[in-house]
Symmetry: C2
Subunit: 137 residues, 2 copies
Amino acid sequence: MPNSSPPSLSHIKETCLYIQDTARTRAFYEGILGLTCIAEVPGQFAFFRLGPTMLLCFVREFSERNPTLPAHGACGVQHIAFEAPSTEAYEQWKAYLLAHSLPIEHEAAWRLGRRSFYFRDPDGHSIEITEPGIWPE
Amino acid sequence: MPNSSPPSLSHIKETCLYIQDTARTRAFYEGILGLTCIAEVPGQFAFFRLGPTMLLCFVREFSERNPTLPAHGACGVQHIAFEAPSTEAYEQWKAYLLAHSLPIEHEAAWRLGRRSFYFRDPDGHSIEITEPGIWPE
């Protein structure tokens, strides 16, 4: 293989989850978590923006058969994590989700005592909210 | 449901792919794409950092049975996208992957003529590299 160094990349821009119902997904990610929905096509997808990153939620039967782009689609339980900007926001999230009757499934402590907690989205995907700094920079 | 506004989130911090072989995955994401591998445990996971985001690659049989964290694991073809920092870097990526015998499956034009292209990782996941600005800010 060639020995050249790779060009640069900034960050992961798009993260995908495979879902059943765009309206239900929108009610959760926009209505409860506060992400900005920038597109929803029932039966196909709902796209959300969060800072410099995008959460793309696809109905699997659509993305597997979309004739215009490379096929993709997964089943099972996926995992994603959102970062809270501060410990204060992290604590606010725990109280907020409790007030919305969304049970926290687990809380973990990581490097430097930084914490994260886990809950589920409407499709059963495992969603995590972290304090800043759980990963080395 | 309560009417309070959600606390803030910064961005998607962790994106997960489910894989078969950590060494093969590391050779691809670190060795070719240039992400920083911060942990690899054969048979379990390989974790990579890219700017403010993390790519967590799990052997599904491990993450589904990990006794210490909520279970997750998906099968099928997932999709993620990386953002190149400039049009120049985007063009460099196309030449670089060609030189590494990684075929580009498709190239698409989006808003404002900004482009992205698609290729596959060793597990067949659909990987995209985008020019900056394909999504509205």
